[in-house]
Symmetry: C2
Subunit: 220 residues, 2 copies
DNA sequence: CCATCACAAAGACACCTGTCCTTTCCGCAG
DNA sequence: CTGCGGAAAGGACAGGTGTCTTTGTGATGG
């Protein structure tokens, strides 16, 4: 049962009056969970699957902010800052969320000490990792970020040998660069026999080297 | 009285048993408030002055994360995540903090609903701005960041005409680049008659152009 | 006054990266 | 099979940026 999963990951037990208002929301791979600029409608607690967070630049480009595994909370910033949704959240694989509608939160949970602690920990964790990735991003090259992207995917994908390269364009915008430049890097890696490209897939022959290139950067 | 200032900025009134354990901490310009890697000893609430947050890179370089004005809370991440200090915090001018020792927080405030809300809002705000600056940093050039740095300083410095350029080396590391490159940019700006350099100071002749270069990026 | 030293500024170079354009490849209609 | 259109890959180029080295300048001590 989902409530058990929830309790297990979040170490919190909902009051009875809340339980009956909880919903289960499911998203398929690549489905949008939250969209920048919309109003937030409640809190989402990830109980299955993984999603990624990206943002749209002034330039129209996208930028991968992070990958999230459970436990992970969506909507907390927006709820507390009472602001519109700050980033795009997209399912990286089938995702299940326990959803608390806004009015339920306001009515029963906003001043619940344990629940607030839960949110607090989630926020502190996010802030810590955001700070880290902010610095790391600022100083790492595209090659590093690309390697980091693959390393991050490795833990997400089921088949770890082949990576489905979305479209190269998508990957490029996710890590904040251009397809042209990815081609350059992939070509170099091919020549170094670190990878093999076949059409839409890419096989990594030498994870060790990729990990070296990634310089321990991860989007999670 | 400081408690009034505090109440005014943070909209919170301490219980009496806490008040007698509060301390006032003052730091002079450039004095270190928190140092990466140390243990946190309590919560700091800024009630006067401004400070900046920077971090040390793997490469040994420094990177400016943000400037903070009141209201601003220090130590929250570390307290909640029970981790060592994540960033360096340095007074940009004389700063006064209301300080709550760790044990006081644990004894009286950890489960105080209103106080927790206060921390919660602080964290959500930080996270929001961190996310924004993370993207912005990832896509702006050194020239943009330098202009942004001056624009951020403008609101801090008393004399807005001349900017004391720390050492150029410091500025370079703060915005994550090298002195060499700053020299290039400053030379270019001199030629464009946007600035004038005289020894240790730098006069900005054309704030408009600087603001254009800054592209609305700010470290705050 | 000169020699020395330290540090700031600039030159030279190489690499990273984005833009623009050309080439190559592939599928499909005729 | 041929020719066409669109997408992917790659070439050429320019600008941004870091590193290393050289030059310039000002302070200090003899």
């Amino acid at each position: 049962m989902d409530l058990e999963k929830f309790a297990q990951h979040y170490l919190y037990k909902f009051p009875n009056e809340v339980i009956k208002e909880l919903q289960l929301k499911t998203y398929q791979r690549n489905e949008s969970i939250l969209k920048t600029g919309n109003e937030i409608d409640g809190l989402y607690f990830l109980i299955e699957g993984q999603y990624y967070v990206s943002s749209i630049e002034i330039t129209g480009r996208e930028l991968l902010l992070r990958y999230c595994k459970k436990p992970a909370i969506l909507g907390d910033i927006e709820l507390i800052e009472r602001c519109i949704i700050q980033s795009n959240c997209i399912a990286a694989e089938t995702c299940e969320f326990l959803f608390i509608p806004l009015h339920t939160y306001k009515k029963y949970l906003q001043y619940d000490a344990d629940f607030t602690q839960l949110i607090l920990k989630g926020l502190a964790y996010k802030l810590k990792t955001c700070t880290i990735s902010s610095r790391v991003n600022a100083l790492s090259s595209v090659a590093t970020r690309l390697a980091a992207y693959y390393c991050t995917l490795e833990s997400v994908e089921t088949s770890s040998e082949y990576i489905e390269t979305r479209t190269l364009n998508e990957v490029a915008s996710l890590i904040g660069t251009t397809k042209r430049h990815l081609n350059r890097i992939l070509k170099k890696w091919s020549e170094e026999e670190i990878i093999v490209r076949n059409g839409d897939t890419l096989q990594i022959l030498n994870w060790e080297r990729i990990k070296q290139y990634s310089n321990d950067v991860r989007f999670e």
